[in-house]
């Protein structure tokens, strides 16, 4: 688990794979959503086009240092998160930079981007940005709880905090997956997952269809491009954690892609059938439904 210079090109390779996969998957899911709604939907390469467009826009303004740094924090958070977690089990090289820390590092590093983003958007001086941030933070703070409980349940179950070891413990058939050995933890975690993916019914933070609210609306051009990049990476990085903890991890890239896609689809499917929650409703919802499951999983493990 030590550092090796060769890890750097492999980490970059992982990054490259995930960025591309993320952009395609986002477009694919958007397209599926459109088709379900009897619309044509975007082309599959739309995200690439947006990205290139945004990176090349010349006119840009800044509101100050933190505004400038916000997207940087955000993307650093996404990239870091991805790289602190091993992507493929059994591959020394695709375990990325996970030698720097264990599960706890990954969990806490999620906040790095969030914090930077929040600070950056806040400096825009736009009240809606602040409102969006507070909503997001509040919702996440409640949604994180079942996740933390589930993670802890898993850590207790396997008596380790190392992601690699957790995955190792799930090898040898899907009956060894945490999904089956500790279903309550997985249930709690998946509920939390819904909340953290910013999809309906927990999307009041972004609320794209209504008032222009939330951080992304305050950014444009290359800032937005950075954030779009992150939007390709970050959900995947998070799902990788779920995959590793609960669904046996992945040993080869196809397995990786499949599992990530399926996990992502869970949130999409739920979002299609549920109306949107207000923030306090979602806080209560997590506390009333998800947290008890998490507690139960901890007590029973």
């Amino acid at each position: 688990m030590d550092f090796d210079w060769m890890k750097i090109p492999y980490a970059l390779l992982t990054l490259f794979i995930v960025v591309n996969y993320g952009m395609l998957q986002n477009a694919l899911i958007a397209k599926i959503g459109a088709r379900v709604g009897r619309r044509r939907g975007i082309p599959i390469w739309q995200n690439y086009a947006d990205l290139i467009k945004n990176y090349s826009i010349r006119s840009s303004i800044t509101h100050g240092v933190m505004y400038y740094l916000g997207p940087v924090f955000r993307l650093s958070g996404g990239v870091g998160l991805l790289l602190f977690v091993p992507s493929l089990y059994g591959s020394e090289m695709f375990s990325n930079l996970s030698f720097a820390g264990d599960l706890i590092l990954a969990l806490y590093f999620i906040f790095f981007g969030t914090l930077g983003m929040a600070l950056g958007a806040a400096e825009s001086g736009h009240p809606y940005a602040a409102i969006g941030i507070t909503r997001g933070l509040q919702q996440v703070s409640a949604a994180e709880l079942p996740m933390a409980l589930a993670v802890f349940s898993v850590a207790l179950q396997y008596q380790t905090l190392s992601v690699t070891e957790i995955v190792a413990a799930q090898q040898g058939g899907f009956q060894n997956w945490t999904l089956f050995t500790n279903p309550l933890a997985v249930a709690a975690a998946m509920l939390s997952f819904l909340g953290s993916m910013m999809r309906p019914p927990f999307d009041v933070v972004l609320a794209p269809q209504e008032i222009p609210i939330g951080p992304p609306t305050e950014y444009h051009s290359s800032y937005l491009a950075l954030m779009q990049t992150n939007r390709a990476i970050f959900p995947i990085a998070k799902i990788v954690i779920y995959m590793n903890l609960f669904f046996g991890g992945a040993t080869i890239w196809p397995e990786f892609f499949l599992k990530v896609f399926l996990i992502y689809m869970v949130s999409v499917l739920v979002g299609v059938v549920h109306p949107r929650f207000r923030v306090e409703q979602s806080i209560r919802w997590f506390l009333v439904w998800a947290v008890p499951i998490g507690i139960l999983s901890i007590v029973l493990v």
Binding site: G101, Y108, P127, L137, A142, A155, T160, L226, E280
Partner: protein, 1035 residues
């Protein structure tokens, strides 16, 4: 050889002589000279008996030995008491010399006779002679009451006469039947008599007890205290009180052990009731009256415990009595200088800082704080009572003392913080000298009691002396004193460096070295900053001694010293008066629990090492643990006991907040650490107490954080956050495993750094913007960039986001949790983490980001000296994030010896636990590289970005009108309030308010007993007599 009779003959001769002197000034001179002579004689005897090794003498009058003639005795107690009496008389005469001169020679004669009578009460060994002296004292009192300028004094005097008539009738009946039964009036003869007349002696006893103004038969005394000339009240309180107590003591010696329970009961009821009834008083002299009554009750209760106190009896009783006499006389004299009678009128004292020092001295002395005699006395008393199992009495004494401290410190707060009004202060030298003398006496006695104590003399402690030196140096400019203070802290740290084990070293570094760093911020203050340095250094002295304390006595003394020092410090804040009060009341309540815990633990041993707590076994051990733990948790503001903290920390001065938050709170943690190390797990009634602590810690963490997110006031937010942070640390300690402790210590260090930094930063911002309300700020990032950086670094560290040092704490924390046995409290802790993130974001957002307000457009960066420590902290945080091992490794190794299982391994740069691993340097490097790369990339693609004002925005298709309406800051987390607001209902505040309100209401109701009618008072007296008789025959 001075005959003790001088004490009687000289004042008498002086009194008779005054009839011949016409000129008031000459008469005054005669009076003062006579009192001076008497005082000299008493002083001579004190010297002879106390130091020169003389034996107590019995003086026979009429050349005939007792029991056939009256005999007097002069021993050390008598000498000391007569010294108190004559000195009080002398100084009171000096204080009221104008009134005396105006009233003429008769008043002076009466004063002289009063002093003579008090001396006689002390000296005589004859029962009837005692009666005569009491009558003399009563008549003289009735006369001296008239010296008052208060027209109501006449009524008070009459009430007094009515009651003393009843008392003397009972006394006479008792005396004659005692004589009839024993055939003698000589006290020792009565004591030796075979058949003791119980009922007759009861009458004598109850009459003398009534002279001590027992509750409820004391309404007359209070009226006298309220309306008399303050100098005379000083005399009644100090001299007459002392004399009557000694008379009661003599009677108890005569009566034997059978009478002790009654004395105790009367005394303790009076003590508690007197202090309770003092709570709603608004008149300073009446309040002092209640306090006097209470104190004398306490000494009587102690006299009732002489059977168990044994050889310590005099040390304890005289310690309490001396504290009472000196402090009460001093306070009454001070009252004579203050023009108006409301408690708030004492604010006039602020015109003369030495008088404030005097006031503080007296309050501390009365409250029994170190290093005054009452402190040593209380220690011994509690120790013995606990050893004897008299716990109810012990509890009542501590409860009464807490009430007393409550109203005394409230009063002190008024004096320091209220607006002085009206006429102010009468400051003649003749009024100042007695106060000065009382102050000197107070410190002299402090020395003396320390010297005589079986424990260490606190006034020999270098840190305390250093702190006290600042009282004398207070005329220096602040920067000189600040330099001295920093140098002192550093020097003491260097001096004692070798004496700390790694655990203590951590605390020492924070409290001493950290204290010095925090003090850097104090350079920003101009002028002399009177009072700041004595208070601050008192707190640091307490902290310094606390870490080094090996035995329970020095531990407790240090604890009280740091408490009182920090109280003075907190009180300096502009609006901190009520908060400082609740701080000191809670702290002293906690301290008393600690005291009781130590006493129970010691089980009578004169000296008890803190480490010996480990030797305790059930059934004592869990109770000791419980008391100590609650005491320490008061200091860490665990939930339920936290209500003092937000106000105290938020309202303190800018550079005080980091001291009391970053440093002082650690004292509580230190106490808990020491306690848990020594005692480990304790079970009480099947409940694992460490488990209870675990729950309390978790609840503190959750609720503290939750309350923090709803604050609009930045410093309050930080204060509530401290409650949460201390909850984490408590949780860690209570886990009782290696990693839990490591995490707690990590919190200790981190919390010091980031909380000090944040308080300083927020304080600097508040100083510049003139508000602490976050919604009034906003957009300050460009104007105060350095403050912004320190807040940013602070919140990253505090929220535990990698790569800064807070993450290390979290990492250890999660690892520790994996080893914890109980999982449910963990859930609370889990929840509080993200919530902390919310309030931290709010802090930085609403102050530095968002829209800049118009009125703040010209705000400058915080003062230089406030920034210096902040920048040091920034460097420290980053350094500590990179190499946490510098501190942690030592502690880890040390803890390995105490809690061996589950330590960390330090493998190169990677830190490994049983469960996971962590490489701080790698994290820092990786994050740094990613961040820098992306940043450079952004700069590259975005190099022509144009800077625009924050206000240059459009939303909802309109341009905003004013920045105020565009800054989203107020009620920032409204949905949280909707969802979880019920959790932050001020239940604890309501509970404590209810207790305090209940006490006040009870006191207010009870004091209506004192109708002001002389006959009612006489009825009270008779009811008291009958009730005590029933109590005694019922026993």
């Amino acid at each position: 050889m001075v005959s003790p009779l001088v004490l009687i003959a000289a004042p008498l001769a002086g009194a008779f002589l005054l009839g011949l002197v016409r000129c008031p000034r000459a008469a005054l001179a005669v009076t003062l000279a006579t009192l001076g002579l008497a005082a000299a004689a008493a002083g001579w005897w004190v010297w002879q008996l106390g130091w020169a090794g003389a034996e107590a003498v019995e003086v026979f009058t009429a050349g005939t030995p007792p029991p056939f003639a009256i005999a007097l005795r002069m021993g050390l107690p008598e000498a000391a008491l007569t010294l108190v009496i004559t000195l009080t008389g002398l100084l009171s005469a000096l204080h009221m010399q104008d009134n005396l001169a105006e009233t003429g020679h008769r008043a002076m004669a009466v004063l002289l006779v009063a002093v003579m009578a008090y001396c006689g009460i002390v000296l005589t060994r004859d029962l009837f002679n005692l009666f005569v002296f009491f009558e003399l004292a009563a008549i003289a009192t009735a006369g001296l009451i008239l010296l008052s300028a208060d027209a109501r004094a006449l009524g008070a005097g009459f009430k007094y006469l009515v009651v003393s008539q009843v008392i003397s009738a009972l006394l006479l009946i008792g005396i004659i039947f005692t004589y009839h039964a024993t055939g003698t009036l000589y006290l020792d003869g009565i004591a030796a008599a075979a058949a003791k007349p119980a009922l007759a002696f009861f009458l004598v006893f109850i009459a003398i007890a009534a002279e001590l103004k027992p509750f409820p038969a004391n309404g007359w005394a209070l009226d006298v205290y309220e309306s008399s000339h303050p100098a005379f009240s000083a005399l009644i309180s100090a001299a007459a009180g002392a004399a009557s107590l000694y008379a009661a003591d003599k009677l108890l010696t005569v009566g034997g052990p059978a009478w002790l329970p009654a004395a105790t009961a009367i005394g303790i009821v009076t003590f508690v009731a007197g202090n309770l009834l003092a709570l709603p008083q608004g008149n300073d002299r009446r309040l002092l009256g209640y306090s006097s009554v209470a104190q004398i009750g306490l000494v009587l209760a102690v006299a009732g415990q002489r059977d168990v106190l044994g050889e310590h009896y005099h040390f304890v009783a005289f310690g309490l009595l001396a504290s009472h006499a000196v402090a009460k006389a001093g306070l009454f004299w001070l009252s004579g200088m203050v023009a108006e009678r409301g408690l708030a009128a004492w604010a006039a004292l602020r015109a003369r800082p030495p008088l404030i020092f005097a006031f503080a001295t007296f309050v501390a002395m009365l409250a029994g704080l170190p290093p005054f005699p009452g402190f040593y006395a209380k220690w011994e008393l509690v120790r013995v009572l606990a050893a004897e199992g008299r716990l109810v009495l012990l509890g009542l004494i501590l409860f009464g003392a807490l009430l007393e401290a409550g109203y005394l410190f409230r009063w002190f707060g008024f004096a320091l913080k209220r607006e002085p009004s009206g006429e102010g202060l009468a400051c003649a030298p003749s009024k100042g000298i007695p106060v000065l003398a009382a102050v000197l006496a107070a410190w002299g006695l402090a020395w003396q009691w320390g010297d005589a104590s079986a424990q260490a003399n606190l006034l020999l402690g270098l840190p305390l002396l250093f702190a006290l030196a600042f009282v004398l140096l207070d005329w220096l400019p602040a920067w000189v004193k600040n330099t001295l203070a920093i140098a002192g802290l550093a020097a003491w740290f260097a001096l004692t460096l070798g004496q700390y084990d790694p655990l203590r070293l951590i605390f020492a570094v924070i409290m001493l070295a950290g204290g010095a760093v925090t003090l850097l911020a104090s350079y920003h203050a101009h002028g002399r900053r009177i009072g700041f340095y004595p208070s601050a250094m008192l707190m640091y002295a307490g902290l310094a001694q606390l870490i080094l304390a090996a035995d329970t006595f020095s531990f407790f003394a240090a604890w009280e010293i740091l408490t009182v020092g920090s109280y003075f410090l907190i009180l300096r804040g502009r609006h901190s008066e009520p908060h400082a009060l609740s701080y000191i009341v809670f702290s002293l309540g906690g301290a008393f629990l600690i005291l009781a815990g130590f006493a129970v633990a010691a089980d009578g041993a004169a000296s008890f090492a803190v480490a010996d707590l480990a030797t305790l076994a059930a059934p004592v051990a869990p109770w000791v643990f419980l008391m100590l733990a609650i005491g320490f948790m008061t200091k860490t503001a665990s939930i339920g006991l936290h209500v003092w903290l937000p106000g105290a920390h938020a309202e303190a001065e800018t550079d005080v907040s980091p001291m009391v938050s970053g440093i002082l709170l650690k004292a509580g943690l230190f106490g808990l650490a020491v306690l848990l190390l020594a005692m480990g797990r304790q079970k009480l009634g099947g409940i694992d107490l460490t488990l209870a602590m675990l729950w309390i810690g978790a609840a503190s963490a959750l609720l503290g954080n939750l309350m923090a997110i709803f604050q609009e006031d930045a410093k309050r937010l930080l204060a509530y956050s401290s409650i949460g942070q201390m909850g984490y640390a408590l949780f860690g300690l209570a886990m009782m495993n290696h990693l839990g402790w490591l995490m707690a210590l990590m919190f200790v260090i981190n919390h010091y750094i980031y909380k000090s930094m944040l308080f300083l930063a927020v304080g600097g911002v508040a100083k510049r913007t003139g508000t602490r309300d976050m919604y009034r700020m906003g957009g300050l990032i460009n104007l105060m960039p350095l403050s912004f950086i320190s807040v940013l670094v602070g919140i990253i560290a505090m929220s535990g986001v990698p790569p800064l040092s807070g993450f290390g704490g979290r990492w250890i924390f999660y690892n520790a949790l994996l080893t914890a046995e109980s999982r449910l409290p963990m859930i609370l802790i889990f929840f509080s983490g993200p919530i902390a993130f919310l309030y931290l974001f709010r802090l930085i957002h609403t102050i530095f980001l968002g829209q800049l307000k118009d009125e703040h457009r010209r705000v400058k960066e915080a003062p230089f000296w406030l920034m210096v420590p902040q920048m040091i902290y920034v460097v420290l945080l980053i350094a500590f994030a990179l190499v946490p091992g510098v501190a942690l490794r030592q502690v880890d190794g040390h803890l390995g010896g105490l809690l061996p299982a589950g330590g960390l391994s330090w493998d190169g740069l990677t830190i490994t636990s049983d469960f996971g691993y962590w490489n701080p340097v790698a994290i820092m490097v990786i994050v740094g590289i990613i961040f820098t790369t992306l940043f450079l990339w952004l700069v590259f693609v975005n190099r022509r970005a144009q800077k625009v004002k924050q206000f240059n925005i459009v939303f909802a298709a309109e341009r905003p009108f004013r920045p105020e309406t565009t800054h989203f800051a107020w009620n920032f987390f409204a949905p949280y309030r909707k969802a979880l607001g019920f959790l932050v209902q001020p239940v604890a505040t309501g509970f404590w308010n209810g207790i305090s309100g209940g006490l006040h209401a009870g006191a207010d109701f009870t004091r209506r007993l004192y109708t002001g009618n002389a006959q009612t008072y006489a009825v009270h007296l008779l009811v008291f007599v009958v009730a005590v008789h029933l109590f005694m025959t019922g026993m």
